[in-house]
């Protein structure tokens, strides 16, 4: 949608970069960290790829980018698994929000949330765009996860 169409709508962006080796070290040293960071659907998706850690790193960057775009952080009580990044049939990432992230999005009247992920040369990057405003009931319905989360 074009946020410029309505003066009632505002937008915000967030970006994050993750060194794949940094995430690999965390998960190798602490295997249970994967459950703290990723939903079952995200882990399953990554495990089916040729380079799983590239995809996990991109998703971690995506979660951080979403937090930044939403303007939320530690004090909002969000956890990394509150943002689930799955893939649509055409391959583009789809963000689903649950828990406190979903509540924060509802409170801020989030209408649209788009995420772009990429990885190359051991680096993963993500950008998130959030559009705020409009009818609140529309916003809430958009953020149901497409697949059940680990929780």
């Amino acid at each position: 949608m074009d946020a410029s169409l309505s003066p009632e709508l505002r937008h915000s962006v967030g970006v994050d970069v993750v060194i794949v080796a940094r995430l690999r070290r965390l998960l190798t040293d602490n295997p249970s960290a994967e459950e703290d960071l990723f939903t079952a659907a995200e882990s399953a998706y990554a495990a089916a790829q040729r380079r799983p850690e590239d995809h996990l790193a991109a998703r971690f960057a995506g979660k951080e980018a979403v937090f930044k775009a939403l303007g939320i952080g530690l004090l909002d009580g969000v956890s990394w698994t509150d943002v689930e990044l799955t893939s649509a049939p055409d391959g583009h990432p789809v963000a689903g929000l649950t828990g406190n992230a979903q509540r924060c999005a509802e409170r801020r009247n989030v209408r649209e949330l788009e995420v772009s992920l990429s990885h190359s040369g051991g680096i993963a990057i993500a950008q998130a765009l959030v559009v705020f405003g409009g009818a609140q009931h529309e916003a809430i319905e958009r953020f149901q996860p497409h697949v059940p989360s680990r929780d």
């Binding site: 602490n30 703290d36 939320i72 004090l75 909002d76």
Partner: protein, 133 residues
Amino acid sequence: MTDDEILAAVQSAVAQCLELPDDEVAPHATLMVDLGAESIDFLDILFRIDRKTGIRVKVSEIRGHIMGDVALDAFRDAEGFVTPEGLAQVQRVMPRVDMSAFQGRLEARHVAKLLTVQDLADLVANHGRIPVA
């Protein structure tokens, strides 16, 4: 463990995680600003502290440590800035922070950047006595 032993374990965990010399991880150093920790490092540091002390601090405990009994809506205003009540709470749990520098315009999402190595050691020492928000 004594408080000194806990502080030493936390300093060691931070140094190993961030690949810093031990003497650079001073108690008053802020994890994110002074030492360059990122969010992924927080989780790594907490796992390392667990291995060294047997105490697993959850991320939610950090939130509970900072906010205490102050509800989120009272801690920050609608624009995301910490309220006077929130600033007083931050000053209570982080007395080393110069609150006058913020002039009442501290964004709630940046409060975690004020956490020092000593704050983390205090969290470990008080583990189990902090409400999990």
